[in-house]
Subunit: 367 residues, 2 copies
C-alpha cells in the first residue's frame, strides 16, 4: 500500500472517525482505519464511517493502520507538509520531511465489511434532522437493560405527524419533523450515531433507512455514516404525553439557569435539593441545608400554576442546560416556556394523561 | 459587621487569595477571609495576603466569612450589582437585588495574626524578581524530606553576584538578580509564596526580608503578601555548577519541543525513552519500543558535542516547556542554548565540576 497526501488533508479525513473508532477494543483491527485507494473506512461494528481523501498522485493497494497513532502524528505536523504512508508485510511506515515513523498494520482482508443499505433514500438537506437530534438527545437513555431506549426514534405523533422522540423513562423530549417517508416509522437510531451526527454538525444531504435489514445510511458532504438500527419496539409514547397540558410556570430560561447555577455553586453538595414555589410576584427558589440557606426570586409576567416543586438543583439545571437554544439554526426562542413544561411532564411518563395535575405538590424523581 | 460594595470589586479582592486560603483545612477558620473595615485578610498560617476593597459607604465591624462561598457567589453575580455582607451572632447574610444567602461565620478575634515584618525594605519594582521566579520555579523540590529545597533561595554566586536559585537535587535552575541587598542572602522563599507571586504576575513594588524572624513581606499594587521563610541552610550550589561548561548541543528550543511532543504523542507510554544522537548534520532523535519506532532529525548550525544521551521523552519535554521564554518581559531569547545545557547539568548536581564530561554516554535520571 502506498498513499501520499498533505498532513492537513489526512487530519481532516481522520476527524471523520471521532467517537466511532474505539481506543480500547477487544478486536485490535477495529482500532485502525482502512486505507483503500483514496477512501478511508472506520467502524466499531455497529457504526461505520467512510470518507475520501485528496491524494498526491495515484494511491496503490489497501491496508489497515492504527487510527490513534496516525491522528496524533497528523495533529503534530504542519498542515501543508507532504506525508507518505506505505505498508508492507504488516509494517506501516509514515514518512515526511526526513522523519520516519513505523508501526504495525493489519491485513485489509480482515477488516469487517458493513454491507449495503437498501431502502428508500430520501433527500433531507432542509429537514432539520440533525438539529432535532441535537435538541432531544439529552433524554436518550444509557441504561443497558431497556436497550430499545438507547436511541432516538422516529414515531407517529398523536396527530399523525412524524416526530423524533427520546426518553429514558423519567423524561421525554420530542421534536416534530415534517417530510419523513412513512416507511421510516419505528426506526430507532442508536445514541452513537446520534452523537456522531450532532458532533459533525452538518445536516445529511440524504438518508436511507432499511427497516428490513435494520440499517440506516447518512450521506453527508464528503462523508458517509452507516449504522445498525436498534432492533426493538419503541414504547407507545403518545399515551404519556399530556393533551393540552397547562404550563407549570413560564420564566426566562437564561435567567432561571443563572440563578440555579448560583444556588448550585453555593450549595454544600450537588445532590442537594431546591424548592420552587409560585407566588403572586414570581418564582421563589429556596435551599435550606445544614449550615447554609438561600432565597432567590425570579419574576414572571404570565399566569402561574406552580405551587411547590422539589428536586435536586442538578436536575432542572442539567435539563435546562441541555435544551439550550439551537445556536446553529436559531429557530428556538430563548424564552421557551415549553422547555419548562417538562418539569411537569416528568411526573407523567408512565402514567395516564388523566392523572395530570401540574399544580399538585409533587417530587421530581430521577433515575 | 456590615459592608457594602459591588460584586465586581468583591470578586477582584477575593481573587487575591487564590492558592493561599485552603479548602480542606483542619482549622475551619482558615477557610475564611477576615473583613476588617475595608481590608480583607486571608492566611494559611505560613503565608498571609491582604488587600483593600472599595466600599459603598462606611464599613462597620469585623468578621470572618467563608472564602469559597463568597467567591462562588461573586462569580455568579453581575459585576455592577451592589452586594451587602452583614454578620451577627455567628451568621453571615449576603444580600443583593432581593436575593438572600445565609452561611455561618467565625469570630474575628480567633483569626490568626501574622505579625509584623521588620528588616530592610528595598524598592524592587524594576528588579525582575518575579520574572526570575517564573523561570526557575520548575526546579523547586516538593519532597518533604529535604524541606530546605522547597523554595527559591537568594544565594551568592561564584563571582559574588546575587542569584535566585532552585534545585530538587537532580536539576538546578538559576537566574542572576542584580541589586539585592547583601543581608538578604540565605533567604529561602517557600514554593507557595513563589507560586502566588508568579500567578499574580506583577513585580512587587518593594520587598522586606527579616532574616532574624525568618519572614518576608512583598508589597504589590493594592495587595500585600507575607510569608514565613524556610528555616534551613541552602546547599552550597556553587560547588556543583560547572565552570565554563561547553554546551552539549545547541538547537532551536521551539523546534525541539515540537519534535518531542510528536514523539510523545506517538509513543506507547509517557515513560518511554528517547535517544538523542549527535551527527554531523544535526541532532537525531530515536524511539524504539516493542511495536513502534521513530526517527527524527533536527539540524543545527553550531558545534556539536553530543554523542548520545538517553532519557524519558517526558524529561526534556517538561524541562523545555517550563523554561519557556518569558512572554511578559521577553528578555530571554527563544534560541537559548543555555536551557539545553541542563541536560548535561543534570548529571553533575551533587558531583564535582571536575567530573564534567558532557560528551560521554550517560543516562538521564529522575527522582
Amino acid at each position: 500500500m502506498h498513499i501520499q497526501m498533505t498532513a492537513g488533508h489526512l487530519r481532516a479525513a481522520l476527524s471523520s472517525f471521532g467517537r466511532i473508532v474505539e481506543r480500547r477494543c477487544t478486536v485490535p483491527i477495529l482500532t485502525g482505519v482502512k486505507f483503500s485507494g483514496n477512501r478511508l473506512v472506520g467502524t466499531n461494528i455497529d457504526i461505520e464511517a467512510s470518507c475520501t481523501i485528496p491524494t498526491i498522485g495515484q494511491p496503490k493497494g489497501e491496508a489497515v493502520v492504527d487510527y490513534f497513532a496516525l491522528s496524533s502524528l497528523a495533529a503534530h505536523i504542519d498542515g501543508a507538509e507532504e506525508v507518505t504512508l506505505s505498508e508492507e508485510k504488516g509494517l506501516a511506515t509514515f514518512t515526511f520531511n526526513g522523519s520516519e515513523y513505523r508501526m504495525p498494520s493489519f491485513p485489509a482482508n480482515d477488516f469487517p465489511d458493513f454491507g449495503t443499505v437498501k431502502g428508500v433514500r430520501a433527500e433531507t438537506g432542509n429537514l432539520g434532522f440533525v438539529a432535532a437530534m441535537r435538541r432531544i438527545r439529552f433524554a436518550i437513555s444509557t441504561e443497558e437493560i431497556r436497550y430499545y431506549l438507547n436511541g432516538a426514534a422516529i414515531v407517529n405523533g398523536r396527530d399523525g405527524r412524524p416526530m423524533l422522540v427520546a426518553t429514558d423513562g423519567h423524561r421525554l423530549a420530542m421534536m416534530p419533523i415534517d417530510g419523513v417517508p412513512a416507511d421510516w416509522f419505528g426506526a430507532i437510531i442508536p445514541i452513537g450515531a446520534v452523537n456522531h451526527l450532532v458532533m459533525r454538525g452538518h445536516e445529511p444531504i440524504s438518508i436511507a433507512i432499511d427497516l428490513e435489514q435494520r440499517r440506516a445510511r447518512f450521506y453527508l458532504p464528503g462523508h458517509q455514516m452507516s449504522a445498525k438500527l436498534i432492533d426493538g419496539a419503541y414504547p407507545e409514547v403518545n399515551r404519556v404525553i399530556p393533551v393540552d397540558a397547562r404550563p407549570v410556570f413560564a420564566v426566562d430560561r437564561a435567567g432561571l439557569l443563572r440563578v440555579l447555577r448560583r444556588l448550585r455553586s453555593f450549595s454544600e453538595g450537588w445532590r442537594e435539593g431546591v424548592k420552587l414555589i409560585g407566588t403572586s410576584e414570581g418564582l421563589r427558589l429556596e435551599i435550606a441545608q445544614s449550615e447554609r440557606s438561600a432565597v432567590e426570586h425570579i419574576s414572571w409576567g404570565g399566569a402561574c400554576f406552580c405551587r411547590a416543586v422539589r428536586g435536586r438543583i442538578q436536575c432542572p439545571l442539567s435539563d435546562l442546560s441541555s435544551i439550550s437554544p439551537d445556536r446553529r439554526n436559531g429557530y428556538i426562542r430563548d424564552r421557551a416556556p415549553r422547555s419548562l413544561q417538562r418539569l411537569a411532564y416528568r411526573h407523567h411518563v408512565g402514567k395516564r394523561p388523566s392523572s395530570h395535575r401540574p399544580d399538585a405538590d409533587a417530587r421530581v424523581r430521577r433515575s
